[in-house]
């Protein structure tokens, strides 16, 4: 397959979205149909691209000197691409029902579609410069989505988000510069590109650069102490929070970290250094911290957001293990968490959309009124807890396996932290479930009159996600093997 396809899948949503406000839609229906078509078509193209992989790179154009804007589809990238291609159409479908009656939908769907392309750009970037460019763009195109309601707190949230993201990017930029200067090539090469000759005695300096870079990119991955923006951003419409803040944006952060760690600086150079030790600390801390904050939180979406914070640190934990197994663990959690979290977010969104209730203490007895939604929610809760047979367990298993194989005390501590957070997850997820299904004998269902399940456009994605959770949980073999194949070339 021609490499040009990569440019197409990146540009199609961007252009298609950009056209949205210009096209003369006569009805909302046409708008939705058009959007879905664009997204779906692009997903199909992407899947096709994944099946017939374009071998060589596609150079868009050259910046100064050896810096170029170019795409290339490699293992890691295809994982992320696959996640996006599979989740986006569903999320869009969901968004149609959710956004009914919201103001300026066109703008919303425009940026929603554009974001698809930009995120794909991150996934397909061949070198660190391209990735950085799309990373910055992602910040910008998601901003209007967060601001969408244009209420005061939305604006404040978007500001916070912007400051955090751009600030992080500034530091990541420094790390990038070091790669450009001390690396043999800006491209991503398994095992890293650092040129020992150029590094010489400057090892510590480069480690410092790596730490800066890691912290910078980890802002989008909402690692403590840079995690505050994520729950704030929960003011956005749910499709946004779900897709962007549980899948696209934060995963983009994690993805970039994998790139930087495994493909640019190289684990061979980093493993066992003070940088690794240093980075373990915030990661492990975040794993627990996120859960405990989620426990405190009573706003349902913010609770989900905090749980995202902790779950992302699972991924980062896999990353800082800096072993092939660690990468496998990180990747598997990246995939599975995407499914689980988007499902739970959508359930929350369904509740908010149907009833406008946003706080957990308002959910008593919903299990009877919105059974389908809450069954899906229960499944995702169990998956997040890591009940065996659901996908959450598999990724946790892989992470723990990697931790034990790495064997350092901190790694083991991380494994323990995983379990602690699993328990906390159980608490903050199951309390919701129990509330919903067992409000107590004396509960008066009259207060919930007229509440019912949402329409098929919301339920279809949920169902698919639930099925996916079971399938991944029971037959994780092929997936994990594929991931191992990706991680194989790592030293």
């Amino acid at each position: 397959m021609k490499p040009g396809i990569m440019l197409i899948v990146v540009l199609l949503p961007i252009l298609g979205g950009g056209l949205l406000p210009l096209l003369p839609f006569r009805s909302r229906r046409q708008l939705t149909v058009y959007t879905e078509c664009v997204v779906l078509l692009n997903s199909l193209l992407t899947v096709a691209m994944l099946l017939y992989r374009p071998g060589e790179a596609f150079v868009l154009f050259r910046y100064t000197g050896n810096l170029s804007l170019s795409f290339r589809l490699d293992g890691l990238g295809s994982v992320f691409t696959a996640i996006l291609a599979l989740l986006w159409p569903l999320a869009t479908l969901y968004a149609f029902e959710y956004m009914e009656g919201e103001r300026h939908e066109r703008i919303f769907f425009m940026f929603y579609t554009i974001t698809f392309g930009v995120t794909l750009g991150i996934a397909l970037a061949e070198d660190i410069v391209t990735m950085y460019c799309f990373y910055e763009m992602l910040t910008l195109v998601t901003l209007p989505l967060i601001m969408h309601t244009l209420t005061r707190e939305a604006v404040l949230a978007s500001r916070t988000y912007l400051y955090y993201a751009l600030g992080g990017a500034a530091f990541a930029f420094m790390g990038m510069i070091f790669i450009l200067t001390y690396g043999t090539t800006p491209n991503f090469v398994p095992g890293g590109v650092l040129d020992p000759a150029r590094v010489g005695e400057k090892g510590d300096l480069l480690l410092l650069a790596y730490v800066m870079c890691f912290l910078g990119f980890s802002v989008k991955a909402a690692m403590w102490p840079f995690s505050a923006w994520l729950p704030k951003a929960g003011v956005a419409p749910t499709p946004v929070t779900a897709l962007l803040h549980a899948v696209a944006v934060v995963k983009a952060g994690a993805f970039t970290l994998m790139r930087v760690t495994y493909y640019s600086f190289g684990t061979g150079f980093l493993r066992g250094t003070w940088a690794q030790t240093l980075l373990f600390v915030p990661v492990i801390f975040t794993i627990v911290y996120g859960c405990s904050r989620a426990l405190k939180e009573t706003h349902i979406k913010r609770r989900m957001a905090w749980s995202t914070v902790s779950n992302l640190s699972y991924i980062l934990f896999g990353v800082v293990l800096m072993t092939p197994l660690g990468l496998v663990g990180a990747l598997s959690h990246m995939i599975f968490h995407a499914v689980m979290k988007i499902c739970s977010f959508f359930c929350a969104g369904a509740v908010i959309h149907q009833t406008g209730r946003e706080y957990i203490y308002q959910l008593d007895g919903f299990g009877r009124k919105m059974p389908k939604v809450f069954l899906c929610f229960t499944v995702s809760a169990l998956a997040l807890m890591g009940v065996p047979g659901l996908c959450g367990f598999v990724s946790k298993w892989n992470l723990a396996k990697a931790a034990f194989e790495q064997g350092s005390p901190l790694a083991l501590g991380g494994a323990a932290a995983l379990l602690v957070s699993a328990l906390l997850t159980a608490i903050y997820m199951l309390t919701i479930v129990i509330r919903a299904f067992f409000p107590g004998r004396d509960f008066d269902y009259g207060t919930l009159k007229g509440i019912r399940d949402p329409g098929w456009r919301m339920l279809l994605p949920l169902t698919l996600f639930v099925v996916a959770m079971f399938i991944f949980g029971l037959f994780s073999g092929p997936v994990v093997e594929a991931l191992e194949a990706i991680a194989a070339p790592m030293p």
Partner: protein
């Protein structure tokens, strides 16, 4: 696929149970009132049909499970669950022992429940989850490797929650949550152990004496011991061992009596089973023999034994009292396992059997008192014995068995436990253990017998008329059977002894 029959006793009740639960849920959606129209599938409307269905399914699957376990045995490998470790069933003596006990108790409790639950209402949900839990337990007992066992262990936790909060009152829900979180906390501690073992053992599949890889284990003993301690602690939570015992006295009394009977009688044993499997069949007893883990374990077990009986002694409410006694009794078993000696292990296994039967009987009788006359406290039943001799006698027999008065069954197991303790090379515990057991036996007598005494010798307090009403046979019969069994097994412990001896010799033999 060879030995596919193993799936039958797991799947059939599971499916039926799920269907029942779904049906009850559908009633919920309809807001409780179920017209004849909105019922689909084979789930019957009237309670009689429901009971018939449950009874047959339970009986059949129990038959298949026990019969199959004894006659055919064998192993069955399904798809790999996570990195190459398959969902794997394998039937060995331990499985046989446990599955027999479970099925027995479950059937008895079921018969009892048919009558009992008519007052409670929402029987579909109850029996649905009742079957579900049974299926899961069978799965856990047939499990052939640690991962499979863990899978069923955690599922069992989740599935048994609705049994606890059946009444749906606020307290019940809170109790259920407490139960859930304690067990999950334990489960995750255990999971840590499983992670470790999966790294340092050749396989997670069960084999007597364990499969620890000495090469890998080299230099990692500290880690391994810590992991083992976590495992014991974690799975100990389900068995109500210190320090994670808190849920038990809260949850058991809240559940409807048949549920609490099986909870106390059987489900706590699944914690025991988990520890047994992890220690004796994966890590191997040699790993922790003589280490700080063993000592800590024994200390915890003994402390639990003592504390449990003490609390039971101080507890006026009958069901709570029985719950506390479960706490202490199950720790007998754990102590027996902790000694890591064949005799002691044998005693432990015996106590698994006996305690299951006895405690079930006790809870059932308590249930009768509760549902029939609303009696919760001991003082209220003065003179019952005059009117309800069968009930009180079976209660008495059961308690005698639990106290361990020869020739009742409890005596045998405790004898083995004490002997095992004395034989074992565990220093001070050789004497401390038996002493504590003895003390707690006295305490047991102290908190169980007063019921009998009050029942038969009311003193001058007049006997309420309502004690005269006859009790439904479906309640009394299983009670009586269990009580009788408790005694008989004491008189003729031969077959059981032979089985446990075989297990112990294989697993704990030096």
């Amino acid at each position: 696929m060879k030995n596919a029959w193993i799936l039958l006793p797991v799947l059939v009740p599971a499916v039926t149970g799920a269907a029942l639960a779904a049906a009850s849920f559908r009633e919920h959606l309809a807001g409780g009132n179920t017209g004849p129209g909105d019922q689909k599938g084979f789930v019957p409307e009237n309670t009689r049909g429901l009971h018939a269905l449950v009874g047959t399914v339970l009986a059949l699957s129990a038959l298949v499970a026990v019969g199959g376990a004894w006659l055919w045995g064998g192993s069955l490998t399904l798809f790999p669950l996570v990195d190459g470790i398959p969902l794997y069933f394998q039937i060995d003596d331990v499985g046989r022992l446990f599955v027999t006990v479970v099925s027995l108790v479950w059937l008895a409790a079921a018969v009892y429940a048919f009558s009992y639950m008519e007052k409670e209402g929402d029987q579909k949900r109850f029996f649905g989850f009742y079957l579900l839990v049974y299926a899961i337990l069978v799965g856990q007992e047939f499990a052939g490797n640690l991962l499979t066992m863990y899978l069923f262990y955690e599922l069992m936790t989740l599935a048994s929650v609705p049994l606890v909060l059946h009444s749906g009152t606020r307290e019940a829900v809170m109790a259920a949550l407490k139960y859930l979180f304690y067990s999950l906390c334990g489960a995750y501690l255990g999971l840590f152990g499983i992670y470790t073992l999966s790294r340092f053992c050749d396989t997670l599949a069960f084999q007597p004496g364990g499969s620890l890889n000495p090469v890998l284990a080299q230099g990692n003993r500290g880690l391994l011991l810590a992991a083992m301690f976590a495992t014991v602690l974690g799975f100990g939570a389900k068995a109500g061992m210190l320090p994670l015992h808190g849920w038990l006295p809260t949850a058991h009394p809240q559940a409807p009596s048949p549920a609490s009977a099986v909870l106390s009688g059987v489900i706590v044993k699944s914690g025991v089973l988990a520890i047994l499997r992890a220690v004796y069949y994966v890590a191997g007893p040699d790993l922790i023999r003589g280490s700080w883990v063993q000592e800590a374990w024994m200390i915890l077990a003994l402390a639990t034994v003592f504390m449990g009986s003490l609390l039971a002694f101080r507890e006026p409410v009958l069901k709570k009292r029985l719950a506390y006694s479960t706490v202490s009794q199950v720790s007998y078993i754990l102590f027996g396992l902790a000694l890591l000696a064949p005799t002691a292990m044998e005693g432990a296994l015996l106590h698994v059997v006996f305690h299951a039967v006895v405690k079930c009987a006790l809870f059932l009788s308590a249930g009768v008192l509760l549902s029939k006359w609303g009696i919760t406290r001991v003082e209220e039943l003065a003179g019952l014995g005059k009117k309800q001799p069968l009930l009180v006698w079976s209660y008495t027999l059961a308690s005698l068995a639990l106290i361990g008065i020869p020739p009742a069954s409890g005596f045998v197991s405790k004898w083995y436990l004490a002997q095992g303790a004395l034989e074992s090379q565990t220093g001070v515990f050789r004497y401390l253990g038996p002493a504590v057991l003895l003390v707690s036996a006295f305490l047991t007598a102290g908190y169980l017998l007063p019921v009998t005494v009050k029942a038969f010798f009311p003193g001058e307090s007049r006997i309420p008329e309502r004690f005269g009403e006859r009790v439904d046979m479906r309640m009394l019969a299983p009670l009586a059977v269990l009580a009788l069994l408790a005694v008989l097994m004491g008189l003729f412990p031969g077959p059981v002894l032979e089985l446990t001896g075989r297990i112990a010799a294989l697993a704990a033999g030096r």
